[in-house]
């Protein structure tokens, strides 16, 4: 696989580290003013969709520009459909969606 980093261009996948599915959102715990209960945290931490097909997932370009990226990739063919910067990567834009 070569991964087209939006900052560096296409690079060998060995420069990147995989985190996993980018879809799950951390539930808001009561201590953070949310209402999430244990079941939602159990889902978030332990259960996976583990999709066979196109997924959105986090990759980290640690062997390059050190940006967090979100890739759309097929788990059945390893083909990348898109690679974009994760919220917060780069300083050009002001505060981005997903940032606190």
């Amino acid at each position: 696989m070569r991964i087209a980093c939006p900052f560096c261009g296409a690079r060998d996948s060995g420069e990147f580290t995989y985190l996993g599915d980018a879809s799950p959102k951390r539930p808001d715990a009561p201590i953070d003013g949310g209402t999430a209960v244990e079941d939602q945290f159990y889902d978030y931490v332990y259960l996976r969709d583990n999709v066979a097909g196109l997924t959105r997932e986090y990759w980290y370009h640690g062997g390059g520009c050190r940006s967090w990226l979100i890739a759309e990739r097929s788990t059945t063919t390893h083909e990348f459909k898109s690679v974009t910067a994760a919220p917060g990567a780069g300083a050009a834009k002001a505060k981005q969606a997903g940032e606190r």
Partner: protein, 416 residues
Amino acid sequence: MKYSIFSLARAALSSHKNWGRAWRDPAPKSHYDVVIIGGGGHGLATAYFLAKEYGIRNIAVLEKGWIGSGNAGRNTTIIRSNYMLPGNTSFYELSMKLWERMEQDLNYNTMVSQRGIINLYHSDAQRDAFARRGNAMRINGIDAELLDATEIRKILPFLNYDNARFPIQGGLMQRRGGTARHDAVVWGYARAADEFGVDIIQNCEVTGFQRTNGRITGVETSRGIIGAGKVGMAVAGSSSRVAAMAGLRLPIESHVLQAFVSEAIKPLIPGVVTFGAGHFYVSQSDKGGLVFGGDLDGYNSYAQRGNMPVMEDVCEGGMAIMPMIGRVRLLRQWGGIMDMSMDGTPIIDKTPVDGLYLNAGWCYGGFKATPASGLVFAHLLARDEPHEEGRRFRLDRFRRGAMIDEKGQGAQPNLH
């Protein structure tokens, strides 16, 4: 037909042209007491033990390709029971004991070879960790020996003992560990199960579940609908896909693990050697090829193939610990899809869906577990309660905080 010296001699008289088929190729019936999805080692062993130990004979094993075409044909054939945590230790030892009598039980040469497994250590801290693991094994009646560098050198004189980063200080050895012939295990269980009347149905892909009042009553397949009293899943890397057909999400991710075989060379490596610190392990097949591997590629995959960076990493690990491996040519390389669980430990349990039973989460250690997995899963399917040796492999252990995490890695499956 019983295989023996006499059957061999008889077949020799007709130039081995009259061997009968080892198992039938039946058309699926309309209903079975138990349908097992997945014709790998685990599924076939489950059918065998259901028939032999629990007296259930009306069984089908459904395989979407041909039996043994998944991970049973993609592993590196290692058997061992060198685990530390309660739940794992005695389960894998049960498996080892079943390996030791498998050929007699099945009347089949599965080429079980207890040639020993050595886990190398390179630091005081690692020695302490291995001493602890060895002690846990011995407390549970499992053989383990902590060897120092001098003793390792006698067994494995060809290793690089003076690697600056990873000098070999010794190793943890389990002499009863070793290898078995992966295909023969599949064929042996298939033949033995078939003799009990189990229907092995190949080229039969499950595409959905039939449910009545919430309970599973059958499976929809590429060869029609098949009714079932109970359905057991033993589909390894495809666990999440099959479970999703029943509306379940599992604590599992599918990851690709690569394995490698070199050209055949004269006998060199006496047993199995693992260089965990360098992400490399190796043994030598009876045919002469060096069989080796390393870490997961690290990303979710169903593709049964990996990428170059891990190939490079594995080869670098091999060169570091065993420099002369660089003179050997790589013959083949492939990938298998691992059902990586959230604590690195398997799940053998009922599911929240009535009539559906789960055998999954074997990570990259499923082959050695084949016989015990079959026995424990068969017990669950037959009795509706866990086998003594599978009672900790529960699906709800993550919610209860009763994880069995040998590596202490947490819910990051690609790091187990």
